[in-house]
Every structure is written in C-alpha cells, then in structure tokens.
C-alpha cells in the first residue's frame, strides 16, 4: 500500500491482531476419517497478522476458510478490575458473536478462554495490570472454541505478553460408527453424539535431555459436549496429541517466516 499511514489517536488500535482459520477442506473430508489405529491427518490454514500490516489492509490473502475468528490484544494497561488480585496481572476476555447479542454461551466461551489463557500467561511479571483480549467471530463452521484459543494465543505472542508456553487447541468428535474425527464442520458437530475441545501446551525445543517431554504430556483445557464412554475420551486424547504437536510445529514455522520477513529482526 502506498501513501501515508494514518495513526489517529481516536481509533483504539490494539497491540496485536491475529486471525486464525480452521479449514476442514471439503474435498479431503474423506481422508479425515481414519480408524482408531492409524493417526488421523489434520489440515488447516493459519494466518497471523501483525499489527503494522493490519493498518495497511493487505494481510488477508487466504483462499478458503471456514471457521474464522479475529483476536485482538490490548494492554497490559494499568489497574486491575474489581475483585481481582492486584498482585497478579489480570486477563479479560470479551467474546463478540457474529450476530445477535452476547448471551450465555458467549459468557461460557469467555470463561473457558480466560481460564486457559490465565494458565499460560506469566501473571507475576506485570502485577496490577489488565490485558484485554477481544475475540470477534467472523464465521462459525464448527470447532469455534479451539480456533479462538489458537487465535488468542497467537495474538498474545505477537503482542509480547510473557507466556509460559503456547496453547494449542483441537477438536475431536465421536461419530455414530465409533470413529473419531478431527476438526469437524458445523454440520458434523451437530450430528455426532459427542465432541470434545482439547488444549495442550506446545511441543518445545529444549536443551534438557528428558525434561522437555513432560510438558507434552500436559493438558490445559478439555470441554466436552454430549455423551461418550471413558475409553472413547482417552482415545480422543491419544489421537489429539499428535495433531496438536503438528499444529504447534506449524505455529513455530509461521512465526519463523513472519520474523524472517521483518528486516528489523534480521541478524
């Protein structure tokens, strides 16, 4: 974009934006149905927008996306909200649905997201501050909460909030015939008897010989809908973990390519 970049103070410009698209590509849905033995394949598209690019309106260049969410981070700003511990940083999540007013389900999403993000943020670095995260749903085609968790986490990384590790979220559902599907669309979510959203810490590179492994066995958040057997839940967990580690490698490569394009970060 040529021409002046206008920085008007009366527009509230957030510190970081991130848009995440989870795209269960229509033609490849058949491949996503694997039996419990072979690990399923997850296909998704991911875009991270950095705040400077966003001002120039040339960052949206994705061909097909289904579930789409924009996450914006504001802060840390001085002062915590009432009834929050002033010795720690406070995280505030605002969820804006695509249509209609915010209701009970939006409050539930806000609460789940807030708890997840609180567990990955280091709250002692900036005590007595509030970091606000606004999630705007642009399109909902299934697996909305994992999409929002991934977007919020990417936005926090971009904004420079101190984090313990990243949160990587996926959705698993149980179809009638006992198969486990990853990343369902909205129609599939309504048809299956149960689905679960899972958030894991990211897989990390480490100089510790064995210490890094223990982090990958952790789990941050699990939200289930519907009825499923306990064994099915554990199989979902088992299948979800390699998918999450693929997603976290993807995130790492996206951050690398974004840093590579930015000459101010070049060595």
């Amino acid at each position: 974009m040529d021409g002046p970049l206008i920085n008007e103070d009366r527009w509230l410009v957030p510190e970081a934006y991130s848009t995440v698209l989870m795209a269960p590509l229509a033609g490849l849905k058949v491949l996503l149905r694997f039996s419990l033995i072979t690990p399923p394949v997850l296909q998704f598209s991911f875009i991270i927008l950095d705040p400077l690019l966003l001002l120039s309106n040339d960052a949206f260049s994705l061909a097909s996306g289904d579930t789409k969410v924009i996450a914006a981070v504001y802060g840390p700003k001085a002062g915590t909200r009432k009834n929050e511990n002033p010795e720690k940083a406070c995280i505030e999540v605002i969820w804006k649905p695509k249509t209609g007013q915010s209701g009970k389900s939006e409050s539930e999403y806000e609460m789940v997201l807030k708890k997840t993000l609180q567990s990955i943020c280091l709250l002692n670095v900036h005590p007595n501050t509030t970091t606000s995260i606004v999630i705007q749903v642009v399109n909902d085609d299934g697996a909305l909460l994992p999409c929002a968790i991934n977007a919020a986490c990417a936005a926090l990384v971009d904004a420079g909030t101190p984090l313990k590790h990243l949160a990587v979220a996926i959705c698993c559902c149980m179809a009638e015939n006992g198969q486990i599907l990853l990343d369902p669309s909205k129609m599939e979510e309504q048809k299956v008897k149960a689905f679960v959203y899972l958030a894991f810490p990211n897989s990390m590179v480490s100089v510790l010989p064995e210490g890094g492994k223990s982090m990958e066995h952790g789990i941050l958040t699990s939200v289930t809908h519907g009825v499923m057997a306990v064994d099915d839940y554990f199989s979902c967990l088992k299948l979800g973990r390699p998918a999450a580690s693929e997603l976290s490698d993807f995130i790492r490569n996206s951050l690398k390519s974004k840093a590579g394009n930015d000459p101010s970060k070049a060595a």
């Binding site: 002046p4 970049l5 920085n7 510190e15 970081a16 705040p51 400077l52 690019l53 802060g75 840390p76 700003k77 001085a78 010795e87 990955i120 280091l122 002692n124 670095v125 900036h126 005590p127 007595n128 501050t129 990384v157 971009d158 904004a159 420079g160 909030t161 101190p162 984090l163 313990k164 590790h165 990243l166 810490p201 990211n202 897989s203 990390m204 590179v205 480490s206 100089v207 510790l208 010989p209 210490g211 890094g212 492994k213 982090m215 580690s245 490698d249 995130i251 790492r252 951050l255 690398k256 840093a259 930015d262 000459p263 101010s264 970060k265 060595a267």
Partner: protein, 241 residues
C-alpha cells in the same frame, strides 16, 4: 520436537527463533557460571526458559536476551524515551511512556530545579526523558537530567510531530551504522529527529510537508529490506524535486 545438546554453553539456539516455553539452558549441567539474562527470558528452577517469542541473542561473556519488536514497551533503567504528560500532581508529573503503568516525573528532576521554578506542563506536552527506576510492580520513575545532573537533550520537544511505531524500529533507528533511510533523507532534507526506545519518534522541520514526508518514509521503511528502502527513497526524493 527435541534437539540433543551438542554444547551447553553458549546455548545452541543463539540467533534462532525461540517460542515461549523453549528451554535454552540447563543450569545443572553448567559449571559455576554467572549469567546475565535480558528481556524475554526467565529462570524456571534449573533451566532458563523463554517468555517472549523472538530471536535469541548472546554476547560474550555471559549475556543472553530475546530480541523482538512489539507495540508495547517494557520500561528498563537507562532508556531514553518520549513521554506524553497525562496529569500533574503536586510532587510529580504523570507521563505515559507506552508501558504497563504510567511513569512519574518528579517536579524537581530538572537541571537547576527548585520548588520556586517548577515547570508548568500542560496535559499533552511531549517530553524527552530518561528512565531512572523501573521496578516490577511500581510505576517507573523518570528524569529530565542525565546521570551528571545536566539537562543535556532532555526536556520539552516543541513543535514538530510525534509518530508511533514499534520498539524494533526505534532500535534500528538508533543503531550504528546509521539507518539507510535516515541517512538518505538527511542528505536531501534538513530536519530534527528524536527517537525514544519506547516505540515513538518525533520529527521537526521548518516546513510541515517535510515533517510528513520524513515521518511517513520512516514508518513505511520498517517493512522494507535495505535494497527496497534505497529504491523507495530514490523515487520519493526525486518526486519532491
């Protein structure tokens, strides 16, 4: 994804992208060494892990830090920043420096400052100040004097216009060898510039068109490589002749 350590010191990840959660050093396997950790790193028991994503940097003998560019600034002692006065109190001015908390500028922190000649700053005054104190949990403290008590370049910046950018751009503007955009602009135009490490810079010139030109050129050049910057500036400077 794990890598086996080939040598623990210096860390194998120097000059590479690191992501929050990565462990870069294992203290239990190192001899008695003191380390200096800069921004973006924290100690987690026996290991040093990453808090912010960015490039890991190392200088001998023992300094590690993570270099990244954000819109928000984390105050640290000794930085020269551009602040905007937000409020005045009897003892100090409240100044916004783009950090998590407002900073205090004591009313007497000026060269030759006494209770009798307290400067009067209106809300919105732009100041070039130095960070004196930046403890976590406390509001940072500023001063308009350098370490020897002289005013130096600190104080009010009159006229001109302030632009907001990222901390990474501020660092490259202040680096040596000088930033190519600044050099090229300086050869053709005459202007004054003050760069705050908190992601703000101020430009002043005799004509406002020069101010606009310089400000926009610097903001645009952040996303261009060195070669692209040269091309862009050649075109720009030709078009104003």
């Amino acid at each position: 994804m794990e890598t086996k350590p080939s040598s623990t010191f210096p860390s194998t990840f120097v000059d590479q992208l690191v992501v929050p959660g990565d462990v870069i050093l294992d203290l239990s396997s190192m001899a008695n060494q003191t380390l200096k950790l800069g921004g973006g790193l924290r100690q987690d028991g026996d290991s040093i892990s990453v808090m912010k994503s960015g490039t890991l940097r190392f200088t001998k003998p023992n300094k590690y830090w993570v270099e990244s560019s954000h819109k928000r600034y984390v105050p640290s002692v000794g930085d020269n920043v551009l602040g905007v006065v937000v409020d005045t109190k009897p003892d100090n001015f409240l100044v916004d420096i783009k950090g998590p908390a407002l900073a205090f500028l004591p009313v007497l922190a000026f060269e030759g400052g006494t209770r009798r000649n307290i400067p009067k700053f209106e809300v919105g005054t732009l100041l070039y100040v130095r960070v004196v104190n930046a403890n976590t949990g406390m509001n940072p403290e500023l001063s308009c004097m350098d370490a020897n008590g002289k005013a130096g370049e600190y104080g009010v910046l009159k006229e001109g216009y302030m632009f907001e950018s990222s901390t990474g751009l501020s660092r490259t503007l202040l680096s040596s060898p000088p930033y190519p955009t600044l050099e090229a602009l300086g050869k053709k135009l005459s202007f004054e510039i003050a760069v705050g490490i908190n992601g703000r810079f101020w430009v002043n010139a005799s004509q406002s068109s020069t101010v606009i030109l310089v400000g926009n050129a610097i903001l645009k050049s952040e996303s261009l490589s060195v070669v692209q910057q040269k091309i862009y500036l050649e075109k720009l400077l030709k078009s104003i002749q």
